[in-house]
Structure formats: C-alpha cells, structure tokens
C-alpha cells in the first residue's frame, strides 16, 4: 500500500497541514491528543474534505483540489475501526457483520464471511443482540464488520484505547492476524508507543497538526525513552516455561529468563522497562536479582539526559537506560562486555 497525502484543513483555530508519503502494509500514525490524528482519519476516509491538497492511495486519486476529484466515502473502500465499537444497535451481530459485505461489489468480495467468523471466533455471538456483548466482543465484531466490507485499507482509529489492558492484548493478535490473513493493509492510529511497537512497521508522527517525522516504532521508542513514564519498553515474546522454585523459567535464545509473573505452556508477551536493567562492569559475586546476563554493547544512543545502551545477549536485543555519569564511570563503549541484572519481578506480562 502506498499512501500519499498532502492536505490542509482548518477547523476553528486548529490548522492541520500534513504532507507525507508512506509505503507498507502496517503503517502507524502517532500523536498526542489534539495533534490532528482524528481529523486526518476523517480526511483520508472522505468523511471530511480538506480545504486544499490531494490524497492518493496506490496511485488512485481519492481527493485533489487541482483535479477537482473528491470520491465519496462509500467509493473509497476504506473501512474504519473506531475507538468505540460503534455497532448498529438496531441490527443483530450477523447483520452488523454483513452490513459492508452486502454493499461490496461482487467482484471485490475476496473475503468469505465464514472464514472471517472462524478467524475472529465470532460464531457463538452471531445470534446475540449487540447490546449483550462485552467490550472485547464488540470490538471483535466491529473489526469483522470492517474487514468484511473488503476494504483496500483499514483505518484503525485508536481501536484499543477504550479497552482495559487485558482485553487490549487479547485484541491485538486479532487485529494483526486479519490483516495478514486477508492481505489488507492498515493505518493504525494511536498515542501509545507500546501499541505502535506491537502493531506497525513505519510511523508518521503528527505534532500540533503537522507531520513532524516519519520513523520506525523502535526509533520512536528510543527518542521518547527519557520522558516516557516507563522508559523504553523491551517486548519479549516467550513461551513454554518450566516451573522453577515458584518462578517460571522461560527459554530465551540460548539463555533462560526467570520470571515471577509467568503462565504455564501458553505463549506470553512481556514488557521490560529499560529502567529495570542494572548494568555491571564485572560479574558480581552474589546478587538478589534472579537474572544475570552477560552481554555485549552493540550500540548507544542519546535521549535527552539519558543514554540508551543496546545490549546483545546471544543475538537477542535489550535496551537498558542509564544516566550519562554512569556511562562514564562504567566506561561503556560499543563492543564492551557488561553484565545485566534483572529482577524476576521486573517482567510485566501483557497478554
């Protein structure tokens, strides 16, 4: 998918001026609230018209003041997943799911409802009224409804913001898998760096109505390490732990990580804050932290007053965060060997 957008839109005192070109299947639009993300979603989907400019999706002109083109929303084939599920309250779950499908031209119907219902595990919900669904179920139906419209692009407008943490990490695999399974590219809009790290490959960053930069999730996480409340978040997908004295021993590359908050058998996702990693120059004699890893410094970066140290542990990567004076005292440089201590309780299970 290639999206080229160069638009200007004034709303009251707020001026949105976006100029960006992004390619890829999983693109993020990142910005704090009030940065113009929502307006941009409306402009791309055709629910609002820019004052001037143009929008191209894969060489098809969706909007252009110069050419006098303005495709109506229903002809753009861009489906939206909103923050709230926005299911039609007067229709059943099944009728909601098929709303877009029935309006999609037959030659564009690539996705079979049965396949999608299976993938999203919606079968048990089909005959229920939409008011009798839980928040997570509603969002799954909303996602299914958008996908069944067989869109060229899915616009996910903060689809996880209204969900609590547990549900959020239950929905993420669904969001990713429908896009992969059915080959629908998506634009994922959010103000959460963690969601960006989990959902997208490229990011357009909006700041006060303007495109600030185009970057990667990792770069974004590194840049905001110093002011994020939890620093840089290392994300680890771990599976098949062994029980070990009340802890879970997860295989991680050639090493083993001891984690308190594990779960038997299932694959789990853990976050580890860059601030929870303590670095030692030499192997400490004895230490209460349950994980001590020998690692090599592969890269260092600055994020305001902090130094990010990218550690390689048998090919696996971790980012630790230290202050400048610590970096000088430890005489860390690229290539030096360090020992990283991490408490078993520092890993937080996300889902």
């Amino acid at each position: 998918m290639n999206l080229r957008i160069d638009v200007e839109k004034k709303q009251g005192n707020f001026l949105l001026q976006v100029n960006a070109e992004v390619s890829g299947e999983r693109i993020g639009i990142f910005g704090q609230s009030g940065s113009g993300k929502s307006t941009l979603v409306h402009l791309i989907s055709g629910l609002l018209q820019p004052k001037k400019g143009e929008i191209f999706l894969d060489d098809e002109c969706l909007f252009s003041t110069a050419k006098g083109v303005n495709l109506s929303p229903e002809r753009r084939r861009i489906a939206i997943v909103f923050q709230q599920a926005m299911l039609f309250p007067h229709l059943s779950v099944k009728a909601n799911l098929l709303y877009g499908y029935r309006r999609c031209r037959i030659e564009n119907r690539r996705i079979r409802p049965e396949a999608l219902i299976d993938l999203l595990q919606l079968q048990p919900l089909l005959l229920r009224g939409v008011e009798n669904l839980s928040g997570g179920e509603k969002q799954r139906v909303a996602l299914g409804r958008a996908v069944l419209a067989n869109p060229r692009l899915l616009l996910m407008d903060e689809p996880l913001s209204a969900l609590d943490d547990t549900l959020r990490f239950q929905i993420i695999p669904y969001l990713r898998s429908v896009s992969e399974e059915f080959g629908i590219p998506y634009l994922f809009i959010s103000h959460s760096i963690l969601e960006m790290q989990l959902m997208v490959d490229r990011i357009v960053v909006l700041r006060e109505g303007r495109t600030a930069e185009t970057t990667t999730p990792d770069q974004l996480a590194r840049n905001s390490m110093a002011h994020s409340p939890k620093g840089y978040l290392n994300l680890l997908h771990l599976a098949n732990p062994l029980q070990d004295n009340g802890l879970y021993a997860y295989p991680w590359g050639h090493n083993t990580l001891l984690i308190s908050d594990g779960e038997p058998t299932k694959q789990s996702l853990f976050e580890l804050s860059s601030r929870e990693i303590i670095l030692f120059k030499k192997h400490p004699e004895a230490i209460s932290a349950r994980n001590l890893l020998e690692c090599r410094v592969s890269e260092m970066f600055d994020s305001d007053a902090r130094v990010g140290v990218v550690l390689l542990v048998d090919g696996e990567k971790l980012v630790a965060e230290i202050v400048h004076s610590a970096a000088e005292e430890l005489k860390i440089s690229v290539g030096s060997t360090l020992f990283a201590a991490i408490k078993a309780s520092s890993f937080r299970k996300l889902g």
Binding site: G46, L47, E74, Y99
Partner: protein, 228 residues
C-alpha cells in the same frame, strides 16, 4: 351520551383528517428534520424559524395565509383551479390546515430522535460502503423511529384538536368539513345543546386517551426491541 348522525360524521371526519394530515406531514417532517440536523447550508436559521413559525402564530393567522395561498386567486389556488381540483371548503383543506399547524411538533420530535444518533454510527455506515441515501434508510430512519413515533402521535392528537386554521380554509359544513371541535363549537353556541356538546367532548377525551396509550405501548415495544 347522545350522538346524532352529524356527530358520527364529525368523528369519522376528524379521524380521517388527523390521519391524512399526519401521513402528509411525515415525509416533509422527516426531510426537514434531516436537513436541520445533518446538513450545513446557508439559510438554515431561516428554515428553522419558518418550520417553527406555526407553533407561535395564532392558527387563525395560518388559516388566513393558507386561504390566500389556496384561494381562487392564490398561487397554488390558481394552479389547482386550472386542473379542476377544488381545495378550499373541502375536507382536503382541513388536512392541509392540520398538517401545517402540526408540522413543527413533528419536526421537533424527529429532530430530537436524530440528534441522539451517534455521528460515528453514520460515519461507520458510510465507510462500510453505504451511500448517503442508503445510510438515511438503513441507519438514520430506524434509529430515529422513536422520535418519528412520538412526533406522529403528537401530530395526530394536535390535528384532532385543530380549530382556528380549519374553520377559515374548510369552513364548518356539517357532514362535509365539520370536525369534532367545529361541531362542539356549534353546540356550545346554543344553550339547548349542552348535552350534545358534552357527548362529543367525551368522545374527544376517549380518542386522546387511546392515542396516548397506543403511543406508550408502541414505544415500550421499541424499547424492548432495542434492549434485545
């Protein structure tokens, strides 16, 4: 309770006029409410004021304007005269009078219903491939059904009571254009017919109670359906 054949005719005519007026006003009321709630255009204020005007004007004034418009020398009257359709002093004039007077009530109720629809539901529908008229029929119409129902019952009840505009454009011809309020007016002006007037008043009360009860029942049913 005494009801003479003229009274029965008045009751029948009242119901017929009220029903026809409601049916006539519904599409206009729906379209006006939709314009006011969902569309941005120049002169919207003017339209809103015009729609609400009959609410504040004395019905007699409306009747007089309608008479000017529909009468032999009026804009519409001339056209109708040429095509051989008489309006003034027929039950059709009573329908038009009731529809005009009741329209603001209908528009208000439908507006309230439409304003309570989450804008994002409409956006969702459009982005799922529905053209604006499709969204209007499949999302806005069913979701403003409560407002439409409430407005219709209000409008129906108001039409049953219409007097001032009706007497000017339709007259007070027993058996032809005499509705319940007009018949009561006739009875009330002669002291010997108090019982007759009272009988028709009772009928009026009865019809109103039935309309209100039907409205309550229907909205309960709608509530149950949306709660499913």
């Amino acid at each position: 309770m005494i009801l003479v054949p003229e009274d029965i005719a008045a009751i029948g005519l009242s119901l017929k006029v009220a029903l026809a007026a409601t049916a006539l006003a519904l599409p206009f009321g729906f379209a006006l409410a939709w314009l006011i709630v969902f569309k941005k255009f120049r002169g919207k204020m003017v339209l809103e004021v015009l729609v609400n005007l009959p609410l504040t004007l004395p019905p007699v004034v409306i009747g007089f304007f309608l008479l000017l418009l529909l009468g032999k020398n009026g804009w519409i009257g001339k056209l109708l005269d040429a095509s051989g359709i008489p309006i003034i002093f027929t039950w059709k004039a009573a329908v038009i009078a009731s529809a005009t007077v009741g329209l603001p009530l209908l528009v208000r109720s439908i507006r309230l219903g439409m304003e309570s629809i989450d804008q994002q539901l409409i956006e969702a529908s459009r982005s799922l491939g529905a053209a604006w008229y499709d969204t209007l029929a499949t999302i806005i119409l069913p979701l403003s059904m409560r407002g439409i129902m409430a407005g219709s019952s209000l409008m129906f009840a108001r039409s049953l009571g219409e007097f001032g505009a009706t007497i000017i454009v339709a007259g007070n011809i027993p058996g032809l254009t005499q509705t319940i309020p007009l018949a009561i007016y006739d009875y009330a002006s002669s002291p010997s017919s108090v019982t007759m007037a009272l009988s028709l008043c009772l009928v009026s009360v009865l019809i109103s109670v039935v309309v209100l009860a039907a409205h309550e029942l229907l909205s309960k049913k709608l509530d149950r359906r949306s709660a499913l």
